[in-house]
């Protein structure tokens, strides 16, 4: 892959309020295509909030109000004519706790493509399901039990199933909000390995509490504090030579 990163997401002076309280104080940030960007920072600093701005999941919260621009592929996703439903097919999301639908493994994957009409017949759907599961490195483990419920898988497998489900609608971007915090180290390592694979094809933004995880999987790291973006840069640089004292303090465990 060539190193010259193209910018996929442009965030410009993004402010966000929950009711009266401002949770994001003007964030400006460029997220590169085909790479992993990690958001880190202490609890409540607005990482998840910013992430959920990127596919407008925050629309679900009535009290939430947004100002500023979020441009994905140079299109303002908060423009009036943007269709949220379609936006979310382009910007997939993986959640903290694995949340497979209580359906069969196959149906978990096939559900969204069916709604979006991505497969015109059963064979195409089979292919799509297999492809998605393969991309999520899950195919080998589940290929003989596609009709078993997705909830019967182990936690790590469930999370990969959720990733496969997201991949199935062919998004550009995958958002992950602490995708490993409910998993044990081995399952976590597998997800991290998967993220490493996926960044070839997708733009990935991941929120994580674990600085080690951010260091392991990401190419860029953004450090947030109390709703501000304190520092953003190459992960290697952030973790060896941050520019800001606050970043250094947080990363070295000198906070609070």
């Amino acid at each position: 892959m060539d190193n010259k990163a193209t910018v996929k997401i442009r965030i410009r002076d993004l402010k966000l309020w929950y009711g009266e309280s401002e949770a994001l104080h003007g964030i400006t940030l460029d997220i590169s295509a085909n790479s992993v960007t990690a958001f880190i920072g202490p609890s409540g600093c607005g990482k998840s909030t910013l992430l959920r701005c990127l596919n407008r999941m925050n629309d679900r919260i009535a009290s939430c109000r947004v100002q500023g621009d979020v441009l994905i592929n140079d299109q303002d996703i908060y423009a009036a004519d943007v269709d949220v439903v379609q936006l979310r097919t382009h910007v997939g999301m993986v959640f903290q706790k694995p949340n497979p639908f209580p359906k069969s493994i196959y149906e978990n994957i096939a559900y969204a493509p069916r709604i979006h009409g991505l497969a015109s017949n059963a064979d195409e759907m089979d292919v799509l399901v297999e492809e998605s599961l393969k991309k999520a490195s899950l195919w080998d483990e589940v290929k003989d039990k596609l009709d078993q419920p997705g909830t019967a898988l182990s936690g790590g497998q469930q999370q990969r199933l959720c990733i496969a489900r997201t991949i199935a609608v062919r998004p550009d971007i995958i958002l992950m909000d602490e995708p490993c915090s409910a998993l044990d180290p081995i399952a976590t390592a597998k997800i991290e390995a998967l993220i490493e694979e996926l960044k070839q094809e997708y733009t990935i933004v991941i929120v994580t509490h674990s600085m080690q995880q951010a260091a392991r999987v990401s190419q860029q790291t953004a450090f947030f504090y109390l709703g501000d973006l304190i520092e953003y840069g190459e992960t290697g640089q952030i973790f060896t030579m941050p520019k800001e004292q606050r970043t250094d303090d947080y990363i070295t465990g000198r906070f609070g």
């Binding site: 596919n55 999941m57 679900r60 009535a62 439903v85 379609q86 936006l87 979310r88 097919t89 382009h90 997939g92 999301m93 959640f95 706790k97 949340n99 497979p100 639908f101 209580p102 359906k103 559900y111 969204a112 709604i115 979006h116 419920p149 909830t151 959720c162 489900r165 997201t166 609608v169």
Partner: protein
């Protein structure tokens, strides 16, 4: 002494003795050792004394009262009172002598309390046995007179002469009674069906609206309103069905050129349906809300609309709960008595026309048991046979719904 006086006196005396017992035991252990030496907190020694006072007294009282009630053995009220107090004191003395610092009072008290809880739990078994036996015995007596096959497949229910036979006047040439229960069950089925046709869509969609669309504030207002429907006694529904709805049905049917009985099945069916709405909606609402928010987020994040998410993810996930709610609602409808007693007909009628009068199992039970007939005529015994069928059907429904719930409960 009057019965009620015994109650009062026993309460007063035992309370007083209990206080003394508590204090005595507590003092005894404190006198024998310092706070650090005694095994349990001092209060436990007190309670130990109290329990040993109360348990013998009250259990003896219960036994004596039982004997009295069943006319097996009678003691005067004074006798009961005195023997209870004496038993209590004996128990206390035993406890008092056991109290010493190394005595594990806490364990002892807890063992007793645990035993009491266990006994309480056993009562539910007794009730079930009671119900099954009471219904079973009388049903057996019924089926000694009437063949089971006739009962199940017969289409004529004309039991009126049975009590004459029961009274030993069979030879007076009265008509043979018929106990064909088919029309009764058909009526029950028809009314249940009508009720479910009302309750299921209304209840389910209300639940969906409340849990998925309504704001929190609205939900908090709407849900109690629906629950009012469940709080209205069935006798009131029956009255309403009979006085208001049945005439309305007749009138409306007339407008359409149809003829309806005043005891038509539609009115009680409709009202029963309305009565059942909250069962359907509350239970469904609960299970729909129990579907984790994460599943909705997961679906919406895939770019689906709200309705799609509800239809394809939320409802399937909640389906076992909804099915269970449905089954419970059905068993409610089948067992519902007052509405049909007051608004449905008395005449068994094998028909598919809901505008005609028809009758139900529960109506027949009430009819049979509220008259002045002897309890052992086939006429009254038939009520128990019907009751047994009712019991079997509702139990089956309930067990199925429990199985459904259990089978799917580990799904998320």
């Amino acid at each position: 002494m009057q019965t009620s006086d015994v109650f009062i006196w026993l309460t007063v005396v035992l309370a007083a003795l209990g206080t003394v017992a508590f204090w005595l035991c507590r003092q005894r252990v404190l006198a024998a050792g310092g706070l650090a030496d005694i095994h349990s907190r001092p209060g436990y020694y007190g309670w130990y004394g109290v329990l040993w006072l109360l348990l013998p007294a009250l259990s003896l009282g219960l036994v004596l009262a039982g004997l009295h009630l069943f006319h097996l053995y009678s003691l005067s009220m004074n006798g009961i009172f005195i023997s209870c107090v004496v038993a209590g004191c004996l128990g206390f003395v035993r406890a008092y002598r056991l109290v010493e610092p190394r005595f594990r009072a806490r364990q002892a008290v807890e063992a007793i309390v645990r035993g009491l809880l266990f006994v309480a739990a056993g009562i539910s078994i007794l009730i079930t046995i009671g119900i099954v036996l009471s219904v079973l015995f009388e049903s057996i007596r019924f089926f000694q007179v009437v063949s089971f096959w006739d009962f199940v497949t017969g289409t004529r229910w004309e039991p009126d002469t049975a009590f004459l036979i029961g009274a030993g006047r069979a030879d007076e040439g009265v008509a043979v009674p018929h106990f064909g229960s088919l029309p009764i069950f058909a009526g029950t089925f028809m009314i249940t069906l009508i009720a479910m046709l009302v309750a299921v869509p209304v209840g389910l969609f209300s639940a969906i609206y409340m849990s998925e669309y309504a704001s929190h504030a609205w939900r908090n207002r709407l849900k109690p309103m629906l629950e009012i429907l469940a709080g209205i006694p069935t006798v009131v529904y029956g009255f309403f069905a009979a006085i208001t709805v049945s005439p309305l049905v007749v009138e409306l049917a007339g407008k359409f050129g149809l003829e309806a009985d005043y005891t038509n099945a539609l009115a009680p069916g409709l009202i029963m349906g309305i009565m059942i709405i909250p069962f359907m909606s509350s239970l469904s609402d609960d299970v729909i809300r129990a579907v984790p928010q994460a599943l909705r987020d997961g679906s919406l994040a895939l770019g689906t609309t709200k309705a799609e998410t509800i239809r394809h993810v939320v409802l399937p996930a909640a389906l076992p709960g909804i099915v269970a709610a449905f089954l419970i609602a059905v068993s409610r409808a089948i067992g519902e008595t007052m509405i049909v007693v007051m608004a449905a007909g008395l005449r068994p009628n094998l028909t598919a026309n809901p505008l005609e009068g028809m009758t139900t199992v529960t109506v027949k039970i009430v009819e049979a048991l509220t008259g002045d007939q002897e309890f052992d005529s086939a006429f009254t015994l038939a009520a128990f046979a019907l009751g047994m069928v009712l019991l079997l059907v509702t139990l089956t429904l309930n067990i199925i719904s429990a199985l459904v719930v259990r089978k799917f409960s580990q799904r998320y």
